[in-house]
Amino acid sequence: MTEIAIDRPESRRMGFFTDTTVCIGCKACEVACKQWNDLPADGAVFRKTSSYDHTGSLSASTWRHVRFVEQTEPVPLPDLPAYGGGNGGHGEVDLVAAAEAHGVPQMDRWLFMSDVCKHCTNAGCLDACPTGALIRTEFETVIVQPDVCNGCGYCVPSCPFGVINRDPYDGRAAKCTLCYDRLEDGLEPACAKSCPTDSILFGPYDELVETAKGRVLALHERGVTDAYLYGAGDEPGEQLAGELGAFFLLTAPPERFGLPAQAESPAQENGPVATAAGLAAAALGLAAAVGAFARAHRR
């Protein structure tokens, strides 16, 4: 993990545990986030084949985003005429016979998942940032300092999750801050505060991980055997970006939610190369700084 930029005694790593099994897809988190952080609407666009998702993805102005995954199949119906003409059935399957053979046919699932910046232990965006705009806070979260960001955009392809983006109007990068301003005042982030079903839990990272592990066990006992944690509790070597500060409980493969099965900060993946490049950049930077200091000092 990169060095913590802000010193605050007794501060701990804070994070999100988003449990998709109690999410009701209400999008209160999206709205609360935009309201607290004063983010604009992205425009009213009706998206095709996106279920009830019309904001599409995380962006510089959407820091919480709820995905909708419809895993539904048509109920098999026999070949019968339909009211209004046409054939209402889907083929040879008889509803009653199907029910007797396979239990009651029913639609499978409609999954909801509130996505957010992962506040990675190995944060690609932070590794790539040449200006120091991206820093790790005393809560071990990753934030952009908008007054330092120069809009270079290096962070954008460096995020393995596609979270961080540049604002199309001013060019600067922006993403979830885990409500840094609220954390400073001892308040929980706006999305977690507004979540009516506690699908978004906020708290000290270590405690959240324990809670989440217990939750997975409880779900397994209840027969929800496909429940697993995404981004926490993995063995070293299998961790996503060195563990995620904001992790998830999922019941379908990560790709179903637009999440990568594997993720690492590019800088970490290309360690030696990146280190060399980093050292070179640092040396150049140091030289430039010394020069600037010397010039300033002469005035």
Partner: protein, 849 residues
């Protein structure tokens, strides 16, 4: 979940603790997604489904016998003249096919009659000129506690529901027999001494031509399983928005006064206070206190001017002469017979059935005052044709709920006070401010009038003080007036038990009396108490619930007839033999010192007529009514009738189609698809989205909400979409006889075609939040689903049938105005005045024979 995300917190908590959630809805919504079972019955087939449950519970002897025998009217013997749909091919005895109404006298208990001390209550065939006598009866009735007498209600029900077999449920509702049986077994397994089941519905369930009977059918299931008056049980009406419960407690409805006192009718009985009291009260049960409540209400309204000599001002109350609900009023406006209208926080141009007709009705008035948070379609409709519309429209900006103080009364009858957070912007004011200053000006105008008809305005008791630069009235003074005063001491009364009929007390709404007990605004309390203590979840010091801060009504039923809890697990209110009183976690809903073994003598009156094991004290016989001998206009038991506009025949009663007592307003501008018509083969239903609120003013004008659901859409199954060439995300048009609207297609397997016997039926589902105007440049607009829907009415409450109607769909956008097919209909006179809606007579249903 879909429409009540905040309340769903508790459903999810219950699920996490092991509760099973069953969602019965034609539409697969976010609620279905988190439920253990989604049961997609065909829109409008609810009573067939619930009747099936009733039959299954009876046939398998799974009912809670001790509860049913002691606490419901199952054992009561009914008149020998009573006949039901079994005997009469789909109608109940007393049906007059000419008028489409019932003479309800044969439905009574043997030995009973509909209560009326004066003995003048005819068994009305005119719903709106007479009170319906809900819960009222008198006389001494006979019962058979073995439930075996063929004329006892249990046996009548058994015969009535005998044909509601699982096969019939499958055939009518379009769900499999197996799924139906799984629901039935789950409910049965989760009810009894140790467990209870809750039935929650949202107001969409009422929007059927048999809406009231659907809710009643749900109540019957709950009563048979012993789930009323007990913790974790009940029927929860999830309201459409904040304080809808409050708006019927202190009503915005035309036919009741505050506290569910009936509105006086324009007939001889209601000319005097004595006549009104004798017709509206009951000799037995809690309503025997009726006179205390009406007199205290009149004292609150008219103050010192209300005296015993002038009937406390009762004679000056308006009397109703017909159906003056929203729809007939707008139809009258449509015909040019209404000068003006005050519309507060309502958007009928989008939110009411046949919204195109509503908009044209608005344009036929001289003036219109609209109070809302933003310019809504109801204030903006005239821009459709400014040169043709002469209505003068006044838009008054309104304060939002955070910009004013007051209380909300929500689903659980809980009054919760909220303080003002910020001042309203600009000229926006609270409703109270508006009403208060209008009242003051009107009163000043009539100050010197000696015309007798102006007596109520001259003598209106209007004592509210004002504060601040905007002269805002003091809201708590209004709440105190609602609580009521002892007028002799000037003190606030502690509760409605202290209200009197002699003019020495006042109360603006008797059921709220006690909300300001001890001079404390009880509704402002926010102490949840110790939630882990036994009964701690009752939290009696959080807000204040009417009546008397009771959290569960009829909670005497949570104990067995001897007064002992049914089980330790479901312990709630019980008889304490040592202290000789009822006690428990909640305020007992029973006379606190009445012993469980008290038996009411035959000649008892008032509360003395309620025995110690009769929990339902608002009913004259103290029993929950499985069978309703009075009070309903379309039958003592729920029977399945098809929606008005149904493409399928009524398989249970082949000679019937829709509810024969349902009402309609026939008019060229309000056409209804006749039975047998093939032009509109698809069943449509409407629903709400989490992201939007009602007719849109509070969400479609907000960019953050608009981007979440930007356009009107229709959910359609892939099969139908493929047949009609409709593609996901592209335009489609929905057509009904009233209008045609365009929307984006949402092609999804969440909507499924249904197998209806030897044919398949397609359904489409659509939200109704969109309208033609937004006051925000980043807001969204779209066609209104309500343009498609006919004005019609449940016979009891005039609710429209908007959850099941017929339509057709095609690909592409509409090529003309939404309501163009109604052009020219404004000049056509309807064949009956709006206040006397027509009944759907049997001859209209001839095609079903």
């Amino acid at each position: 979940m879909e429409a009540h995300p905040v309340g769903s917190r508790w459903a999810m908590k219950a699920r996490e603790r092991g509760a099973k959630i069953i969602h019965v809805d034609p539409h697969y919504s976010r609620t279905s997604a988190i439920s253990d079972m989604h049961v997609p019955i065909r829109a409008g087939s609810d009573i067939a489904f619930l009747g099936g449950l009733i039959r299954h519970i009876i046939e398998t002897e799974s009912y809670f016998r001790e509860y049913v025998v002691n606490y419901t009217n199952a054992a009561t013997i009914v008149n020998a003249d009573y006949q039901g749909p079994e005997e009469l091919e789909g109608v109940f005895s007393g049906f007059d096919s000419g008028s489409g109404t019932y003479d309800r006298s044969s439905w009574m208990y043997e030995g009973g009659e509909v209560a009326s001390a004066a003995g003048q209550r005819e068994h009305s065939t005119q719903a709106f000129s007479d009170r319906t006598g809900a819960g009222m009866m008198t006389g001494n009735v006979r019962s058979d506690e073995t439930l075996s007498d063929p004329r006892c209600i249990f046996q009548i029900m058994k015969r009535h529901y005998a044909r509601y077999t699982p096969e019939m449920v499958e055939r009518i509702c379009g769900i499999s027999e197996e799924q139906f049986l799984r629901v039935a077994e789950t409910l049965i397994a989760n009810s009894g001494r140790e467990r209870t089941t809750m039935l929650a519905y949202a107001v969409g369930w009422t929007q059927h031509s048999s809406g009231v009977q659907m809710i009643r059918a749900g109540s019957i299931v709950q009563l048979l399983l012993g789930n009323i008056g007990r913790p974790g049980g009940g029927i929860m009406a999830m309201r459409g928005h904040a304080s809808i419960q409050g708006s019927s407690d202190i009503p915005t409805l035309y036919e009741i006064l505050p506290g569910y006192l009936p509105m006086p009718r324009a007939n001889d009985d209601d000319l005097t206070l004595a006549g009104y009291v004798s017709g509206g009260g009951s000799q037995r049960g809690w309503w025997s206190h009726f006179d205390n409540y009406i007199v205290s209400l009149l004292k609150a309204w008219f103050g010192d001017a209300a005296t015993p000599e002038n009937g406390f001002g009762f004679p000056w109350l308006p009397k109703i002469s017909g159906n003056h609900s929203h729809y007939p009023t707008m139809l009258r406006a449509f015909e040019g017979k209404l000068d003006g209208l005050l519309v507060m926080g309502q958007n009928p141009a989008v939110g009411s059935a046949n919204a195109g007709l509503q908009r044209r009705a608005l344009g036929a008035m001289k003036w219109l005052v609209v109070r809302d948070l933003a310019e809504v379609e109801t204030a903006n409709f005239w821009t459709e044709a400014p040169e043709d519309i002469g209505t003068e429209v006044f838009l008054m900006p309104a304060a939002s709920h955070v910009e004013k103080e007051g209380h909300f009364t929500n689903t659980q009858r809980l009054l919760q006070w909220r303080d003002k957070a910020v001042d309203p912007p600009g000229d926006a004011r609270s409703e109270l401010h508006f009403t208060h200053h209008i009242a003051k000006r009107v009163m000043a105008h009539y100050e010197d009038s000696e015309d007798p008809k102006d007596w109520p305005l001259v003598n209106l008791h209007w004592p509210y003080s004002e504060h601040g630069s905007e002269q805002e009235p003091v809201v708590e003074e209004v709440l105190k007036e609602i609580n009521g005063y002892d007028l002799e001491t000037g003190e606030l009364v502690p509760g409605f038990a202290q209200l009197k009929a002699d003019g020495t007390t006042s109360s603006g709404c008797w059921i709220y009396s006690g909300c300001f007990a001890d001079g404390v605004n009880q509704t402002r309390r926010r102490d949840p108490g110790d939630l882990d203590a036994p009964g701690g979840s009752v939290s009696p010091e959080w807000g204040w619930a009417w009546p008397a801060n009771r959290r569960i009504l009829y909670n005497r039923a949570s104990a067995d007839p001897d007064g002992k809890p049914w089980s330790e697990r479901k312990k709630y209110v019980w008889w304490d033999e040592e202290r000789e009183q009822w006690t428990g976690y909640d305020v007992p809903d029973f006379p606190v010192g009445k012993r469980p073994d008290y038996t009411a003598p035959d000649d008892a009156e008032g509360m003395d007529a309620i025995s110690g094991d009769d929990p339902f004290i608002m009913m004259a016989d103290g029993r929950a009514w499985l069978y309703s001998p009075s009070g309903l206009l379309d039958g003592p038991l729920p029977a399945h009738y098809e929606p008005y506009e149904s493409p399928v025949p009524n398989h249970l009663y082949p000679k019937m189609g829709a509810n024969p007592a349902a009402i309609t307003w026939t008019h060229a501008a309000n056409p209804i698809v006749p039975p047998g018509d093939d032009e509109y083969p698809i069943i449509a239903s409407t629903f709400r989205l989490t992201e939007h609120h009602t007719a849109g003013p509070m969400s479609r004008n907000l960019p953050w909400l608009s981007e979440l659901q930007p356009e009107m859409f229709v959910e359609i199954d892939p099969q139908l979409a493929a047949e009609r060439g409709i593609e996901d995300g592209e335009w489609m048009t929905v057509v009904s006889p009233r209008a045609e609207i365009e929307a984006r297609a949402k092609v999804t397997s969440r909507v499924q075609p249904l197998r209806m016997g030897d044919r398949v039926m397609h359904q489409v589902c659509m939200p109704w939040h969109w309208g033609a105007y937004t006051s925000s440049p980043q807001g969204v607009t779209g066609d209104a689903a309500n343009d498609l829907i006919a004005i019609s009415g449940d016979p009891n409450v005039s609710i429209q049938e908007s959850k099941a109607f017929r339509c057709d769909v095609r690909a592409g956008r509409r090529d003309r105005a939404t309501t163009e097919r109604q052009a020219g209909t404004q000049d056509v006179e309807s064949d009956h005045p709006p206040e006397e809606p027509k009944k759907l007579s049997q001859t209209d249903q001839a095609d079903f024979r």
